[in-house]
Symmetry: C2
Subunit: 293 residues, 2 copies
């Protein structure tokens, strides 16, 4: 199950990664208790509608758009109203008949791409999600990197320019300069990010310049991940990377200007192969892995 | 054994971290075969002079100022002439009667500090070495982070300023702006880094400004480590950090301006507690860990 800021998606996935019927509902925005109950209900619904008995379901993977605190089983998800230290593990354990494995969406994205996507079988992979925000899921030496407080990968906060701005303090320097909204902020005349992308595709020089400025910081952020973690691959996903063809080549080129040269030659930069399914498939994989032992 | 660019230090360390007699010799600079033989000879010498039989020595840990390739057992150490893909593991196995564990100095520094120093017992620790260069040793989730090609931690290459300079391409942006030589480069009139530090201590305003500019980038680099890895502690070591008292407080303060706010509150920034012994003690610890199984 992929719990997002606006939608919850669920499906039954087998151990080879084949997904069945996919159920998608809008996330309840006003009642926290209700939105938690929704997560359990959609699990029951997908089982029922798929005609699969709970006896044949080994575990449920649930991913959330925020932080999952492994020690307490609580979730903080800033885009879900009221989801501040929600005891999701206990709430779901009460309502569901099989083991539940919870994790962050970032952990699922990288796990999904490593299982079935662009980074299949690799041991050192980073998923860089560039959408309304920027965050990374990291697998190093075959293991998920969590950090001491379960918030590793908060790379939207990478410091990339000493000429600080007010907005850096709110969302981080890298995110301010390279997430989706950065393009609209750079444009005069209230253009949306989508409109700028569209214009850049058609050769509009002002729009192209905005894309280039965004790529400049994106390349620095990607390079920093390369230098510190020496991954085999960085997979780019998230909303802005739906226009990834516009970003990929210049990004690869500029990354080489910044990263440690040996690590820069070893890494591949690729677009997500699973798209929006990365989360759900990663959740399934995390559920299999989390209940194997 | 700590093989450095100019010295090799060796000692016998027991399983609780007590070190005996320390032997130190100058590294042979002109003959690669000779410098490799030196490493084996000093091991024999320290055993002999300590009066300890090889029967009572479980393993030898050797750390090198560069990259240790775990797959091939080779070493690349740019400051040791000719040490380019030297088959050190095989060379030492032939010459020494006990198992040899080789690793990079960065791996040893963080391991030493985690074993006996500032970060005792922590699971998520980064040792940031700031000397003539900048590099990091990283322990995350209790394990050393190596990267796909054994060169993780090359954070001297962190991109911290889009206004690129020629020198960034040679040694990396972060290293150019914050390693020891950066201070001398910022000074007019051929002052050494040591002289600038001395003047800054005595309140010289030009010298203080140079230190502040260096700290600005240092804080950005430290913040990036905090955001991406969410460590419990970052331990500062290396030559420049012998003047760490001058850097520590402003660095802590400025780091808070950049790093992910929750991770920034969770991390402690401390000076190395082991100083130049971090490497040798870490080497011993790596030898114990590497031969335990």
């Amino acid at each position: 199950m992929d719990v997002g800021g606006t939608k919850i998606a669920a499906s039954i996935v087998d151990s080879s990664g084949r997904a069945g019927l996919k159920v998608k509902i809008s996330t309840e925005q006003h009642d926290t208790a209700r939105s938690i109950a929704q997560v359990a209900e959609i699990a029951h619904r997908v089982a029922l509608e798929s005609g699969i008995s709970w006896r044949d379901i080994s575990a449920i993977g649930v991913i959330v758009p925020g932080i999952y605190y492994t020690a307490t089983g609580q979730v903080w998800a800033p885009n879900l109203p009221g989801w501040d230290h929600i005891p999701l593990r206990d709430a779901l354990a009460e309502r569901l008949p099989v083991p539940v494995v919870i994790d962050s969406d970032r952990a699922a994205y990288v796990t999904g791409e490593q299982w079935l996507g662009a980074a299949r079988g690799l041991t050192d992979v980073i998923f860089l999600a560039v959408g309304t925000g920027i965050g990374a899921g990291i697998i190093s030496g075959g293991r998920l990197i969590r950090g001491a407080g379960d918030i590793a990968g908060a790379v939207g906060w990478f410091a990339l320019d000493p000429r600080t701005k007010e907005i850096y303090k709110r969302v981080g320097c890298f995110e301010s300069e390279s997430a989706g909204p950065a393009l609209a902020r750079r444009a005069a005349g209230g253009l949306t990010t989508e409109a700028i992308i569209e214009r850049a595709r058609h050769g509009d020089s002002a729009a192209r310049q905005i894309v280039e400025q965004t790529i400049q910081y994106l390349a620095m952020g990607v390079a920093n991940l390369v230098s510190v973690l020496n991954p085999q691959m960085i997979v780019l996903g998230g909303g802005l990377m739906q226009a990834g063809d516009l970003f990929l080549e210049p990004l690869r080129r500029e990354m080489l200007q910044w990263a440690q040269p040996i690590a820069a030659k070893q890494v591949r930069i690729e677009l997500s192969a699973l798209g929006e399914d990365a989360g759900m498939l990663g959740a399934a994989r995390l559920a299999f892995l989390g209940t194997e032992s």
